[in-house]
Each structure stands twice: as structure tokens, then as C-alpha cells.
Amino acid sequence: MKAMPKLAPAAPELVHLTITEASRLIAARRLSPVELVEAFLARIAATEDRLHAYITVLGDEALAAARQAEADIAAGRYKGPLHGIPFAVKDNYHVVGVRTTGASRLMLDYVADETATAIERLTAAGAILLGKLNTWEYGTGTGEIHDDLPFPLARNPWNTDRFTGGSSTGAGVAVAAGSAMFALGSDTGGSVRLPAAAAGVQGMKATYGVVSRAGILPNCWSLDVAGPLTWTCEDNALVLRTIAGHDPRDPGSADRLVPDYLQGIGAGIAGMVIGVIRDLGPDAPSMQPDTRANLEAMEAVLEDLGARLVEISLPAPLSGYRQIVGAINWGESYSIHERDFLERADLMGKALRDKMTAGFTMRAVDYIAAQRRRRELAQSTDAVLSACDAVLAPCTFLTAPTFDDQETLTKFTFGAATSIFNATGHPALSICNGFDADGMPTSAQIVGRWFDEATVYRVARAYEAATPWRAERPVL
């Protein structure tokens, strides 16, 4: 189903290096972090009028950090593979002294007094923050787009008439377009994986509790998972390895050791049992033919690589998971933003205001019922998933639609198979598995057992290495 994609230039520009490639050059002192950051700032300057990936660009700060990195490395104080690597974060991550807007009129003047733990860990590893990325208001995603937020809509670099996926709208765009080498988003029902899917990059929602949520504006405490979007799976493992691990500032943080996801990432998948979820129940959206064809082709690739594929079925239809995630999100989001809603609801965009209204009318028994059902679903789903080494599941049922079609937009977001794994807490990576006839990227999810991100990366990396999709970049 592969139409001719727009081909990128043969010699990769600096902004299209992977983290792994760039850090090899930096470690060998053949590339200066200053040169790299300048290239990214130039790319931002050249593309932002079309993409609107950023809400805030921290150009001076990034250049200062790059010069420091350059000096440190020259003096022999090389910190490791993220030293000098430029990244950006969804604008719900706090950075001391920097504005956090959450793309909301309610927070346009809010200057943070703390820094997210994930960012602290990245900057301690030498990575350089370029800026804050576009998002739906407070991370809210009903699927509908009303263009009523204080910032222009981010646009898909593969086709700027197309949607970017949300709620981390700028994160997938920036990574695909080369205006950030990697990005951090946050995922309540799919908000890392959907932008990754729309933009053809790899987005990881790790096991609930693996990545600290401290210092990130919450959307829904019991579902929110922070995670990286990157061009390759290896890059993703590298970033996750750096941000993962116990954080006493986050009450949901899991207190366990983080394995080195890069160890054995290239070991292949021969002999692995990979479950395949094909049927998500009668009320799942119909799948666009190209998306289906690419999923089937992906199954064949995994089999060729030596995995044994076994069809599995989930204990509930997709709608059963979505309903639970929706109800929990109403209740918790309302509790989080109650004062904003009661005092300044008029400043909210329609999507957020709608969600707050739902939370307002919700009863405690209904919220508790949703949490009870969630526990049951998580356990019964785990029983199915844990019988396999990893699982292949659909991600979105269609490629990113144009902005003018509200119904298809909702289907792209609300119909996606991502919320299942927010409900159950399992790690799920959305991975690009080809393109449709219009040259828009398609995607799938690779899912693992609780805390087994390593196997997810191993499967994803084997697939990525066996397919040509990483050679193609959007042309802007």
C-alpha cells in the first residue's frame, strides 16, 4: 500500500540525525553542541510559521547550555549519550522560571516555580531544552477540534492540511520535522502515542509508575504517563532509560530498579511469542484499508524475523476500556481544575469546558465504580497479555485526517486503541509501520508485560531495522 513518499535529501541534515548518530559525533568531538543547537533553532525559525509546534522557544537558554556543554566536553567532562542533545517538552511540563501555559488562557501568565523530574534528569544527563511544545488545553482530548485556544493549531509536517494527533500536538510534529531531536509528551488516553502515530514517529507510554509525573501539570492522576517521542526505537529506549526510575515526589512512582533497555535491544525476536489483537469488538471503528494492509504486512515481518504469532482477544471490547478511562478522567480532571471551572470557565476552550461539566455532574459512586471496573479489567487483560512475550495491537484506525472533518477527527482520537493500556497500565509503544496512499504514516502498538519495556523495545527495534520507514522524512 506504499505510495511514493516525499523523499528526503540523501545526506541527512544535522536536524535529521538520530540521537545515537549525533551523540557519536559529539563524543568524538566531530560535532559541537552549539552547532547542533544552532541548526535546530534555524530549523524552528524556518518551519514554525507552517507547523506551530512550539508555544515557547528558549533560544538564548539553549545556546547558553550548548556552549556550556561544548566547554564541558572539551574539558573531558562528557556526560554520556544525551550530552548536547536538543529536546523539547509539551507545555504542561514545568521548568523553573519559564512560563507553563498548558495552551490555556487560564495560564498565559503562569511562571513555574518547579522543574519536572523528567527534565531535571535529562538536563543532568547533558540534554539541552529548546522549548515548550503545543498541546490541547490542559492535555484534554475529546477528539473534536474547535480552534478556540490561544495558540494556532499545530500542523502535520507530512501534510500541513492534516491533523497532528493530540493532546501532545507539537511533540510528534517537532520530532518528525526535525525541530527537536526528541520530545516529551504525556499520555492519559493516547496523548503520546496518537501524535507519534500521526507524525510517523515512535512514542512510548511506559508502565504506569515508571516515569515520574512530578512537575507536570496533571490531567488525570491515575492515568497520566509521561513519555518520549523519538525518531527511532533505540533513541526512545535511551531517553526512557534516563527519565525512568523511582521519584519520591510522585506518589504513583514505582519503587523498582530500571533495567538498561538498550542492553539486548538488538538481540532479535526469534522464538518470541507475540500475541496479535485483531478484533477490538463490534463497536471499534472500521479500519482504513491501507492501515489494515500495513498491519498485516507488519505481522508478516515479525513472523519472518522468527517470532511466533498467536491471535489473542481482550476480555472486553475497546469501548469497555474507553468508557472507564473517560469516566476516571472526568472525575479527576474536574477535581484538579475545579477552581478554574467555578471561577473562570469562560476562559476555557470548549473541549476542556465540556469535560469539566461532565466531571461536575458526576457522582462519587460512579467514579468508584469506574476504578473498580478498571482494576478488574487490568487484571483480566494482564492475564491475556502476560501469556505472550509482547503483543501487536492496532493504534489508530486511520491516518491523520484533515482539519475540516470533525467526525473523522473524533474517530482518529476517540476511536484509537490506545486507551486500553492506560486503563490497564501496560507499556505500549506506537510505532510507524508504513504510509498510506496519500503518503501519511500509519502506525501500530507494541505492548508488553508490566515493567517489561525492554522486550517492547526489542521487538520494535527488530521491526524497525527490517523495514525502510526510518529512511523517509517529511519535506517542508
Partner: protein, 469 residues
């Protein structure tokens, strides 16, 4: 051979009352007492007094005697299972026990017979203890409010004064231990349902750390606060039971035998519940103050500390959490059979049914703040001593007294925070009603509070008094 430890004094022998578990275990080990005699003693006691106090809702004499004969044979054959082997116990009627009804004090469950034991009942049986039957409870463990005499079971009476309340919701558990209709009782505590009966009846009630004990096979009342726990006449007995309940994998210290000294222990003392709640009765204050002197004489260092969040605020949050979760648990019954409920349960469920998610979540957020603040306070000490209830056992049917007894307490802060807490008798009023205090420990440090309570118990004479029935 009763010269085990220097401090081990023989337990007081009270006519008609069974001995404590620890004393009985020593006698059984020495071959001077048979589990059959012990079970028969409890059955006789039930026969003699339970028509008055109504601690049991169901007595399984036949199976208890069969189990006692089996235990006797095992012990005679040298296969002792430890100190609880042959010791009679009874469970609040919200625990399942295979072959026995589980009714939770409710018409809604009439005719329900359990087909397996709750995990903790099974743990007691594995330790060799003998189940006598099931104990009275307020409906589904509903613990606040008054007594409305509208449940399908007779109202439990306080053995120290049968016109008075025995504490709830584990109404039968405190009364049974005090009256000697059982040696050990298993209760459950959401916002005080082990500790209130212990306080009303002058026995030891332990609410272990949240999460230490497995709740499988019990009727849920409030998922996030329910904690099962033992009631016993002495601290040593409560410790023996805790060890059996927690299982071999848990790190629970051995039962303390009468420690002579508390020297080196730093104990925080909380006196004031903060604004919004009436303080303790004068008799409780006097007993508390005298108790502190005993602790000091035992060598403990005392520090006055304050409750980081007013007890009234804790009670409010606990009420919202409790009623909301109960309403979620029993939602279908409220819809379908509200007329079969007693007033107290229906009241609570209607309240919960109308609570909004935002209010429940707000209460759970307050709870985290309380738990963190209390933990910071408690962590600095080996234990904290404070009041339990602020009143002695109230008169049944006297509504303001009843409600004040269940609502004005220092119990809910630790229900919210999940710290282990123990209530024990620390004296009597002039008219012979038991007084009490509460000892709270660091999470999973039951050993400290048991040690302090055991030392206090050994240094005082309160265990020599039993109710006369």
C-alpha cells in the same frame, strides 16, 4: 514448670472466664489443660451470659468441639502447631467461615452460607485455633451514628453495664472478649470499628498497618480504609494472633512477654484534637495522665506533640470517603431493597449516593495530606500515645450520647493515614466503666506499640478486673 521468664506472672484466674490464650497455651503445653476443656468452658460461658449480652449471632458448638478433640489428639501426638493450637476464637459476622452463614448483621444477606473461609479465618485455623462461631456486627460494618434496634439480630450489650453500648461496628467482638464468651475475636476497623468496641469493653483492640492483613473473604465496607484486626484480653494475646494472621512471610515481631523497661523509647503524646471537636471526658484525661506517669516510670521519654490536622477535619474526610465507597459497594441493594436495610446503613448509603465525585476526590486528597503530615510526625518517635474515643461507653438508645461516642474520637486520623494503632484499657470510672487510650506506631512497626502496651499492662492492675454478669 512455670518459671519461663522472670517477669512472667501467672494470669489471673477469674471464675467462669476462660484463661487468656497465652496462659492457656502454657497449660496446654504442660499437659494440664485440654482444648476440649477450653472450648467447653467458652460454650458454658456463652450458655450462661450470651442470652444477656448477645455477643454471638451463631455458635457452631458441634464443629468447635470436633475441632477441639482433633487438636487435643494432634497435641497429644506431639504435633503442636504453636501457641494458638486449641485456642477458641470467633469472627465478626462479616468474615466468611466455610459452612456458616455470613449475614453482616443484615436482612439483605439472610440465608447466605459461605463455602470457604476468609483468608484470616483460615490463617487462625491453620495456627490451630478453634472457631466457636460468628459475632454480632452493625449492619455491613456501618460504624457511625446510633443504635436503632432495627437489625435482624438482638442488640449487643456491654458486659460492664448491659444498659450501655458495646462499641461498634464489631459490636460482638469487644463484648465477647470482655465477657469471656471467647478468648480471641477477629473484628474489622474502617473508622474505629475494632478500637471503639475495645474501648467500650475494656479489652485490647489492634488495627494493624493498612495493607498488612489480607481482606479476602470479608464483606467490604470501604475499600480504601477497611483493616481487619484482633481483639483480645491482653496485649500478648493480640500479638500472638497478629503473628498468625500476618503469615510467615510478614515481618511481625514475636509476642512481647511483659517487658520490664521502656528505657530508650521516645514517645510522642497528642492531647488536643484541635478545633471543631469536643475533648475527652475528665475521667479519660485523668487515666491518661496517670498512664503517662507509668510510661515515664518505665523509662520512656515523652514529648508533647500536636495533631497536624484537626481531628474534626479527619472525621469529615473519613465520612465522605466511607459513605461514598459503601454506596458504591452496596449500590444495587440500595436501589432494589432499601426497605430491608436498617436506618443507619440506609442513611449512610443515601448520603454516599448523593456525594459527587469531586467531593469524594477532594476528601481523598485531604487524606493524602493528612497521611503525609501524620507520617512525618510519627516517624520521629518510636510511638505516639493519644486518646481513643472521648467518652466512655454511652447508654443504648440515648441518641446524643451514642453519636458523640462514635463521632468524637482520635481514631479517624489513623484510619486515614494507615498507621497501626492499638486501644487498651487504662483504668475504670467510679461506676466501673472501662477507660482507655490509644497507642499509634510507625507503619509496619506493630512491634513497638505492642511492646509499650505490654509493659504498661504488666505495670498496672487493670487486667485483674472482669465484668460481673
Amino acid at each position: 514448670m512455670s518459671q519461663t521468664t522472670a517477669a512472667a506472672a501467672p494470669s489471673p484466674v477469674v471464675p467462669d472466664h476462660p484463661p487468656t490464650a497465652a496462659a492457656a497455651a502454657r497449660e496446654i503445653a504442660a499437659g494440664r489443660l485440654s482444648p476440649v476443656d477450653l472450648v467447653e468452658a467458652c460454650l458454658r460461658r456463652i450458655e450462661a451470659v450470651d442470652g444477656t449480652i448477645h455477643s454471638f449471632v451463631y455458635v457452631d458448638a458441634e464443629r468447635a468441639l470436633a475441632a477441639a478433640r482433633h487438636a487435643e489428639a494432634e497435641i497429644a501426638a506431639g504435633r503442636s502447631r504453636g501457641p494458638l493450637h486449641g485456642i477458641p476464637f470467633a469472627a465478626k459476622d462479616n468474615y466468611d467461615a466455610a459452612g456458616l452463614p455470613t449475614c453482616g448483621g443484615s436482612r439483605l444477606m439472610a440465608g447466605t452460607v459461605a463455602d470457604r473461609d476468609a483468608i484470616l479465618v483460615a490463617a487462625m485455623k491453620n495456627a490451630g485455633a478453634i472457631l466457636l462461631g460468628k459475632l454480632s456486627t452493625w449492619e455491613y460494618g456501618t460504624g457511625n451514628g446510633g443504635e436503632y434496634f432495627d437489625l435482624p439480630i438482638p442488640t449487643t450489650r456491654n458486659p460492664w453495664d448491659t444498659q450501655r453500648f458495646a462499641g461498634g461496628s464489631s459490636t460482638g467482638a469487644g463484648a465477647a472478649v470482655a465477657a469471656g464468651t471467647t478468648v480471641i475475636a477477629l473484628g474489622s476497623d474502617t473508622t474505629g470499628s475494632v478500637r471503639l468496641p475495645a474501648s467500650a469493653c475494656g479489652v485490647v483492640g489492634l488495627r494493624p498497618t493498612h495493607g498488612l492483613l489480607d481482606k479476602a473473604g470479608m464483606i467490604a465496607n470501604c475499600y480504601s480504609m477497611d483493616v481487619p484486626g484482633p481483639l483480645a484480653w491482653t496485649v500478648e494475646d493480640a500479638a500472638l494472633v497478629l503473628r498468625a494472621l500476618a503469615g510467615p512471610s510478614a515481618t511481625v515481631a514475636p509476642a512481647p512477654t511483659r517487658p520490664a523497661s521502656l528505657s530508650g523509647l521516645r514517645i510522642g503524646v497528642i492531647l488536643d484534637p484541635g478545633p471543631g471537636m469536643a475533648g475527652p471526658d475528665a475521667a479519660l484525661v485523668t487515666a491518661f495522665t496517670e498512664g503517662l506517669t507509668v510510661l515515664e516510670e518505665l523509662g520512656a521519654e515523652l514529648f508533647e506533640i500536636s495533631l497536624p490536622v484537626p481531628a474534626a477535619e479527619c472525621f469529615l474526610a473519613a465520612s465522605v470517603i466511607g459513605s461514598s465507597e459503601s454506596a458504591a459497594i452496596h449500590e444495587a441493594e440500595l436501589r432494589e431493597r432499601p426497605q430491608d436495610m436498617g436506618f443507619a446503613l440506609r442513611d449512610k448509603l443515601m448520603r454516599g449516593a448523593m456525594t459527587r465525585a469531586s467531593d469524594y476526590l477532594a476528601a481523598q486528597r485531604v487524606r493524602r495530606m493528612v497521611a503525609d503530615a501524620l507520617d512525618r510526625t510519627i516517624r520521629t518517635y518510636d510511638a505516639v500515645v493519644t486518646f481513643g474515643a472521648f467518652h466512655v461507653a454511652p447508654r443504648l438508645g440515648v441518641e446524643p450520647e451514642m453519636t458523640a461516642f462514635t463521632a468524637d474520637t482520635m481514631l479517624t486520623p489513623f484510619s486515614l493515614s494507615g498507621h497501626p494503632s492499638l486501644v487498651q484499657c487504662n483504668g475504670f470510672t467510679g461506676s466501673g466503666l472501662p477507660l482507655h487510650w490509644q497507642i499509634v506506631g510507625r507503619r509496619f512497626a506493630e512491634a513497638n506499640i505492642l511492646k509499650i502496651a505490654a509493659a504498661y499492662e504488666a505495670a498496672t492492675t487493670w487486667r485483674l478486673r472482669r465484668p460481673t454478669l
